[in-house]
C-alpha cells in the first residue's frame, strides 16, 4: 500500500496520472454548474423580500466557502510536503493558491454587488466583509512571497511555511466575527417557506460540489505545468517532449 503512495508521490509518475484525472473532475464540474445555475437563475421563484437579487447567493456562498477551504487545503499540502519532504505536495499547495484567490475575489465581488440592492452600498466595514478581504490578502501575500523568491525550491518551502502559519488564522478570523456586531447575517434573507429553503439548499449544494470539482480540476492542471517547469532538466521530461513533440512551459 505504501509503495503505491510513494510511486504516485513522484512527479514523474504523477504527471500522466493527473492528466488522466482532469476530465473526471472537469466534466462533472461543468455539468453540475450548468444544472445549478439553470435551477438557481430560472427555475426557483424570486424571493418575496429581495426579489431577484437573492440569486447571487448561489455563487456567493459556494465561493465564500471554497475560499476558506482552499487555504486550509494549501496548508495541508504544505505540511505533507514538509514532513515527508515530497516535492509534489509542495507543488500542489502552490497550484491551489490562484484558484483560492479567485474564489475569494468572487465572494467579495458578488457580495459587493449584492450589497447595493440590500444595504444600499457596495461596501461597509463590517467584520465578515473585512475578514474576507483579509483572507484575500492572505492569498495575495502567499503568492507575492512565492513570486519574490527566485530559487523554486526555496520559494516552495518558504511559502509553504507561510501557508501553515496562516492556516491558524483562517478559523480565528472566521469565528472572530461571532464576537463582533455584524451587519452581514444569513438569517434575514432566508425565505421562510420551508420547501423553498430546501430547494434553495439543494441548489446551493450542487453549486458547492461543482466548485469543489472545478477547483480540483484546475489545481491538477496547474500542478502539471508546475511539474514540467520544475523538472525540466529531468530525463523523463525530455523523453516526454520528444515523444509528444510538444514543448511545454
Amino acid at each position: 500500500m505504501n509503495i503505491n503512495w510513494f510511486k504516485y508521490a513522484s512527479p514523474a509518475s504523477f504527471y500522466p496520472l493527473a492528466g488522466k484525472m482532469i476530465p473526471w473532475f472537469a466534466i462533472p464540474a461543468g455539468i453540475l454548474a450548468f444544472i445549478g445555475l439553470v435551477m438557481g437563475l430560472f427555475v426557483l421563484p424570486p424571493d418575496f423580500k429581495q426579489g431577484e437579487s437573492y440569486r447571487i447567493i448561489f455563487i456567493h456562498v459556494p465561493a465564500a466557502w471554497m475560499s476558506m477551504v482552499i487555504y486550509l487545503a494549501m496548508a495541508f499540502w504544505a505540511i505533507v510536503g514538509m514532513v515527508w519532504n515530497s516535492r509534489l505536495s509542495a507543488m500542489m499547495a502552490i497550484a491551489l493558491a490562484p484558484t483560492g484567490a479567485m474564489f475569494c475575489f468572487l465572494a467579495l465581488w458578488t457580495g459587493a454587488l449584492w450589497g447595493k440592492p440590500t444595504w444600499g452600498t457596495y461596501w461597509v466595514w463590517d467584520a465578515r466583509l473585512t475578514t474576507q478581504l483579509i483572507l484575500l490578502f492572505m492569498y495575495l501575500g502567499y503568492m507575492a512571497l512565492h513570486a519574490a523568491i527566485e530559487d523554486p525550491r526555496r520559494a516552495a518551502r518558504a511559502s509553504g511555511l507561510l501557508a501553515i502559519v496562516g492556516a491558524f488564522n483562517v478559523p480565528i478570523i472566521y469565528f472572530s466575527v461571532q464576537w463582533w456586531n455584524t451587519l452581514h447575517q444569513g438569517a434575514s434573507i432566508t425565505p421562510n417557506k420551508s420547501e423553498m429553503a430546501a430547494s434553495m439548499a439543494s441548489v446551493m449544494l450542487i453549486m458547492a460540489v461543482a466548485a469543489w470539482l472545478y477547483a480540483i480540476a484546475v489545481a491538477l492542471k496547474r500542478v502539471r505545468c508546475e511539474i514540467l517547469d520544475r523538472e525540466r532538466h529531468a530525463s523523463w521530461v525530455a523523453e516526454l517532449v520528444t515523444k509528444t513533440g510538444q514543448v511545454h512551459g
Binding site: E150, D151, R153, H233
Partner: protein, 209 residues
C-alpha cells in the same frame, strides 16, 4: 571522520558538483580548488549544513548529519565569506557572543589573550565597524583560537589578511591538524602549509554557454 558522497547541487540553472564525494580523516586538510564560480562555496556551505544539496549526503562519524544536527554543529567551525562580526559591538563583545554560540566555554582571560594573539591588542573596546577590513576579519578568526571544534570549514580565510596574519593563520591550521583536527579549506592564494597532510580536489568549471 567526514564522509561526503554523491553530492549534486543546482543553483540558478546550473548543475554544480556532479556527484562529488570524498572522505576527510582526522589530521588531514582538504584544499578545494577551482575557478571563480566553480562551486567551492556551495560545497562548503553544504558541508556546514547551511545549504541543502539537491542529492547526496554528508556523514559525520558515519551518521548523516541531518540526523544529528546539534551534535555535528557542536564539533563544527565554519567561517564563510562573511565573517560574522557585528559592527555595532566591540571586538571583545563579539568574542563573548561567539564563545557562547560555539559552546567553547572560554573565560574572559582567554578571550583577551585570543585578541592579543591575533594582533588586536588595544582594539578590544573599539566597535568592529571602526576596524580596518583586515582587523575586522581577524576578530572573526579569533574563533579558531577559542573553539574546540574538530572540523574547521574555512572559505577563503586568507582574504584581506596581511602577510603576518596569513602566517599566523597557517600555523593555527597546522596546530589544529597536529591535534587530530580536520580542515576543509578553499583559497585562491598559495598557502604555506606542509604538504604531507594536505590533499586537493579541483571542482570543474562548467561555465554556461
Amino acid at each position: 571522520m567526514l564522509q561526503v558522497s554523491g553530492l549534486f547541487c543546482e543553483r540558478g540553472d546550473r548543475q554544480l558538483l556532479n556527484g562529488l564525494g570524498f572522505t576527510l580523516e582526522p589530521g588531514k586538510l582538504l584544499h578545494v580548488r577551482g575557478a571563480n564560480g566553480a562551486g567551492k562555496t556551495s560545497l562548503l556551505r553544504i558541508v556546514a549544513g547551511l545549504l541543502l544539496p539537491t542529492a547526496g549526503e554528508v556523514c559525520w562519524r558515519g551518521k548523516p548529519v541531518k540526523q544529528q544536527r546539534e551534535e555535528y554543529h557542536g564539533e563544527l567551525l565554519y567561517l564563510g565569506h562573511l565573517d560574522g562580526v557585528k559592527g555595532d559591538l566591540s571586538s571583545i563583545e563579539n568574542l563573548r557572543i561567539d564563545n557562547e554560540l560555539l559552546g567553547a566555554n572560554a573565560d574572559e582571560a582567554t578571550l583577551v589573550a585570543a585578541l592579543e594573539k591575533i594582533g588586536l591588542r588595544g582594539f578590544e573596546d573599539i566597535f568592529a565597524k571602526q576596524l580596518s577590513q583586515g582587523q575586522h576579519r581577524r576578530v572573526g578568526l579569533c574563533r579558531l583560537l577559542m573553539s574546540q571544534a574538530k572540523l574547521w570549514v574555512l572559505d577563503e580565510p586568507f582574504n584581506a589578511l596581511d602577510v603576518k596574519a596569513v602566517k599566523l593563520l597557517a600555523s593555527l591550521i597546522e596546530a589544529h591538524l597536529e591535534r587530530g583536527g580536520m580542515t576543509l579549506l578553499t583559497t585562491h592564494q598559495d598557502v604555506p602549509l606542509s604538504g604531507a597532510r594536505v590533499s586537493e580536489i579541483t571542482l570543474g568549471q562548467t561555465g554556461r554557454r
